[in-house]
Each structure stands twice: as C-alpha cells, then as structure tokens.
Symmetry: C2
Subunit: 141 residues, 2 copies
Amino acid sequence: MEYSIEDIRNKLSEKGLKVTPQRIAIVDAIYKLGSHPTAEKIIEYIRQSNPNIASGTVYKVLDTLIKHKLIKRVTTDKDVMRYDGIMENHHHLYCINCDVIEDYIDEELDTLLNNYFKNKKIEGFRINEFMLQIKGTFDKH
Amino acid sequence: MEYSIEDIRNKLSEKGLKVTPQRIAIVDAIYKLGSHPTAEKIIEYIRQSNPNIASGTVYKVLDTLIKHKLIKRVTTDKDVMRYDGIMENHHHLYCINCDVIEDYIDEELDTLLNNYFKNKKIEGFRINEFMLQIKGTFDKH
DNA sequence: GTGGTTGCAAACCCTTTGCACGGCA
DNA sequence: TGCCGTGCAAAGGGTTTGCAACCAC
C-alpha cells in the first residue's frame, strides 16, 4: 500500500478527529504491519519508536478508528481481536494450521456475488455487504 | 432441527467420547437455543435443569466437542465466542445493529462458489471450505 | 481556553487451568 | 477397576474504564 503520513493526517481530520501522534502511529502501524495485526502486535511495533504509549490508549484509538470507519475488525473464531486497514470490500484467506490471515481481492467474484443476490433476495433481510471467508492451507507452510 | 437425546448419545459415543449427563445437556442446549449461543447462554439454559454444572466444565466440553467436530465456533468480530451445532456447510447472516446471527443455507450458492473456484485457483493456497458472511439488517428489527 | 485525548493503573470479564473427587465404560 | 470427566476455585490474559494531566484546535 502506498501512503504517506500526510495521508493519515488527512484521513483523521476528514473524520473530524484530532490529529495526535498516537493516532498517526497506530494507523501507520496497521498499514505497515499489514497482516491483520492484533492489538498486542500494534503496541509492540509502536513502542519501538514511542515507548510511552499506553495500551489503554491503543484500544481506545482502535475503537475510535472503527467507529469512524478508518479500520475494520477482522472476524475470527479466536478470542484475540485483529484489525484491518483496508476499507474496500475484500475477502480473507484463513489458514487452518496457523493464524495467518491474508487478503483476497477478486473483483470477478464480487460481481458474481452481486449479480447472484440481485436476483435472489433473502426474505426479511436487507444485505449491506458480504465477505467470503476462505479456509484452507498455504503451500508455504 | 429434529433430534432425540438418543441421537446425541450416539453422536458422542461414535466419537469415542464418554456419554455423560453434562455433555448431553450441552449439546442439547446448543440445538435447542439455536441462535448461535454464547457459553454464558448455554450455562444459563442448562442450570435451569442442572444447577450444579460448573462453567469450567462447559468450556471444557465445548472444546472437546469442537475437537471432535460435533459443533463449530462461529466467527465474529466480537470478543465473546459463539457456538453452532450445524456441521453441514452453511453461511451466516449478521445483523449490523444487534448481535443476531442467523443461518443461511443455499445450495445454489454453494454450487456457484464451488464452480467458480474449480476454475479459478488461488496461487499458493489450497481451499478447504468457504463460508459467506452476509452483513445487513433484519426487517423485523 | 476547552473539550477531546492520553497515560496509568485498577477493574472486568470471559476463558483456562490444576487438582481431587466422582462416575462411565 | 481404571481412567476419563466433573466441580471448584484460583489464575490468566486480553480489553475496558475512571480520572487527572495534557494538548490539538
């Protein structure tokens, strides 16, 4: 992903959020870490350059970012939360053996699903978005 | 879902698990409660008829049932775990406003996805199964 | 200036663990 | 009888909360 700190500042102020060093560092960490980090990984990364950040702050900022749709939570069946900086609709590959989660972007698939549900309504339910979870194994493991 | 206690006893012993009242009660609770209950809901339900069951026991049994593929964990972006007694491949409808999760069974969709990924391989990844998460709102809410 | 943010530490809550007792095979 | 499963209570660990100090705007 290509981005600059200035981009992050802009994203924050567009949402009416105060631009603080902590918030910049957290968004930056999520982008840099890439692989759907846990809060712990984010804290660990930020403390390299900013040892004084409080973990409570990180959790609060993550919540704020989610509320303002700057990041998403990744759904898993584990009890630690993971975060995702990509806001465009996309899908995920889950490894059965380890806890790697990779992004899967496939516009052809999106079209297929959109067309399918354009005709096939689900009674009593209004669809907002969908996300395919693909479980399997990475060859490299 | 149609089932009897005898069915549950059979499922347990088929997997080589000892048939205990607690295990029967837990599987029965998941089937009866239906709507992807949390551990807390399961405990609450069972205590109506069996007030002495320990919560530790419930968690241990749930783990055992998952390991032996009698139930599944439902993936969410919340920090409480939820459980699902349906083992056949199926999808889920997630309500954006509340925490209702409903099953969505659609064989036509399964066929569509299977055919799509029969041709379109994902490089470096071997697909085991997929599950579509459909987010939106229920009219009734 | 002032209201939103941060740091800190304690509280929370769901889940896990250890161990002795109990009950299914 | 042997061993797996249960109850109990304590520990664990990720996340949330309260409050005073701070700092973007």
